[in-house]
Symmetry: D3
Subunit: 155 residues, 6 copies
């Protein structure tokens, strides 16, 4: 691979064990992984972008080939600017697949050289999502089974 | 069954004929059914919790083994507190199935002894949903084909 | 067909090349097509109804058997009032199919003589949706591959 | 519609109440419906083609605008030969939708002017299929709820 | 539950850890579980019915409320004969769901009092199926991760 | 990537333009691609293994980093033997996704280091499949839109 770098974009509101696993698997496959946190001001998030960034950075601290950043533009424009040709996304279910293919097809129209690779979420993580974490936090519940160990005490 | 009680949780905003049918089928299967109305203050609802509760109570008035309550916590915490081991949910379509399995998998992570049972919605009710009822009501339409007879005059 | 007229309802916020294609295919099949823009004041839209109407009218200017209107009632009530017996909708994916069948089943309950016909979106348009267009516009991107040529300069 | 004729192709092994309903709905929409029974010698069928033909003919006897035939070629070649531009198919579920769109996409590649229209199976018929009928018949069960009244005594 | 007995029907060609888990979960919920092995002579199986029966019996030996039998009739006729009102089935994915709902809807038409309950397969078993086991066995591979420990040495 | 080689397994009965496109996209991403034709004697194929091999070889002749072979064992055993850690598969639809995830989950259980990567089929190829090609060939139709140009004259 001449251009061996992959983007892992998402909202990460907050990052989960499922996200962590996908990024680490990508880091085994690619020389460099960029975890890119979308900062769309029109979308409401539970955690402000600075906090989401801190969570993701804490999660991958010490992993040499994972870099973290936030962005505030179309994902394809980030790829163009950073000369990235691969996006990676995890899929838990048919619902995810439908949503992800809609995005991948749109990105392909906007930037044809871009390839989106899909990985299957590991079975023991299929019940995990940021929205479940947010709901548990709303009620003051325990999310330690859902988020990376590194951020449990930061929430 | 030592612990023959099942929870039927939902928003019931408002209750529909589809919900009614699932609860009555559950009441044939279990000694006791608890219809539990989620009162999540972060989620906008058309009907305030008191009104949703009145609708559900009116629907099941006279059914001796169906009890109605509202709750304001995680569903798994309600189950823990009430010593409930079964949740029942109706499924109309693949879309429902995808959404429900995400919830069931998360609940299993949060409270492993909990079992979620799925029933197939009866075919003549698959076109019915609370969101359709709300849309019809918004335009002043007739919802008598969609909601239990007991609440038609209360809307 | 005694009553050879078909309704193509939607939000069209804004109209895309995918919508355009469905309406033109319907116009080959039916004597008359009504493109009906739902003006639900409870739903937030990026473009106000007047603008969405101008976009759709510009798109089908010169197509003699396509008529454009906006409406502010249940779709079935529009059909009843205009004596329409057919609705046509395009489907891109399983996600669309699930959502559309929920609507079609509800409409059938509300107005039994109504038939909903589904067309498959042409493969080169499956990546196109109004929500993608809105996201691109939010970031000032180029939507000329996604919307009808007639409206590119109007956005 | 200049060419107001629609093809309803299938194996009809044997015809069911679900098939009957789709054809009758199509007969309300189009001037002429051709129910076309595929006679692929490589596919095993329970009923030989002559018998399937008799069942379908008996079902639509007296319906003036439904014509029945069998064919032994690609469906698109039948359409080309008979100058047909529309195919109609019923869909019961996401499983059907996936299978049908694969066929419709292939047919579009083979014969671009062809349009496939999809109708939603009526809810009370979603449990009906030829394969269920064949299984019931294998065990000598009663299929009168599954097949047209006209053919119950012919099975 | 007046009639607290549930049927778990299947081909069990051969029984897997996934099947075992569903039956054991059912045995916690119901007073009695009948694991019923369909012996349809028209369907090819890798293992003859006597062997499938031995595998299933070995799997549940010592579980007092699980009874095993084979049957050669429609599943609904077995239920009628044995006065059973509940069927239980596990679901791994949307593909399973689609197939299972087709069967459940057909069974409901054939025998309206019958209820089919669905359980979600546990995540660590979603990769397991009888057809995968058969394929591994064809090539002489190791199936000990896929079948109950009780039958590993019997294969 | 230390071990920059990917396996693209399949039946290729026969190879299609869709398969060709996936392999070529993989050849851009990985240093080496192995197109591996499964030769399962229990599965009926239209073309014998020697012919399928010739078709695939003709298709990728002149592509330096694509190697072709046939195999007669479990796919995971081929990966173990050849020290391969990646499988790539194309997905056209939700139906494909369901089938592919079942296989990927089973492979993960059999050989945990193995990663399966999924690519979305390009939209203009979604109507193409080996089974459609076989059906067209059965009736003597023209498959030039479906198979690689290199093999049109070989069929």
């Amino acid at each position: 691979m001449n251009n061996n770098i992959v983007l892992y974009p998402g909202s990460f509101d907050p990052i989960t064990k499922g996200h962590q696993s996908i990024a680490l698997r990508a880091a085994q496959m690619f020389d460099n992984v960029i975890v890119a946190i979308g900062n769309n001001p029109d979308k409401k998030s539970m955690f402000p972008i600075e906090q989401r960034l801190r969570f993701v950075e804490a999660t991958f601290q010490g992993v040499p080939n994972i870099k973290v950043l936030s962005y505030n533009c179309l994902t394809v424009d980030l790829c163009r600017k950073e000369n990235i040709r691969y996006i990676i996304r995890g899929i838990r279910s048919g619902m995810d697949w439908n949503a992800e293919t809609a995005i991948a097809n749109a990105n392909k129209l906007l930037f044809p050289p871009l390839e989106t690779l899909f990985l299957l979420t590991e079975p023991h993580f299929v019940g995990i999502s940021s929205s479940v974490v947010r709901e548990i936090l709303t009620y003051g519940g325990d999310v330690s089974a859902f988020v990376p160990q590194q951020i449990v005490n930061m929430l």
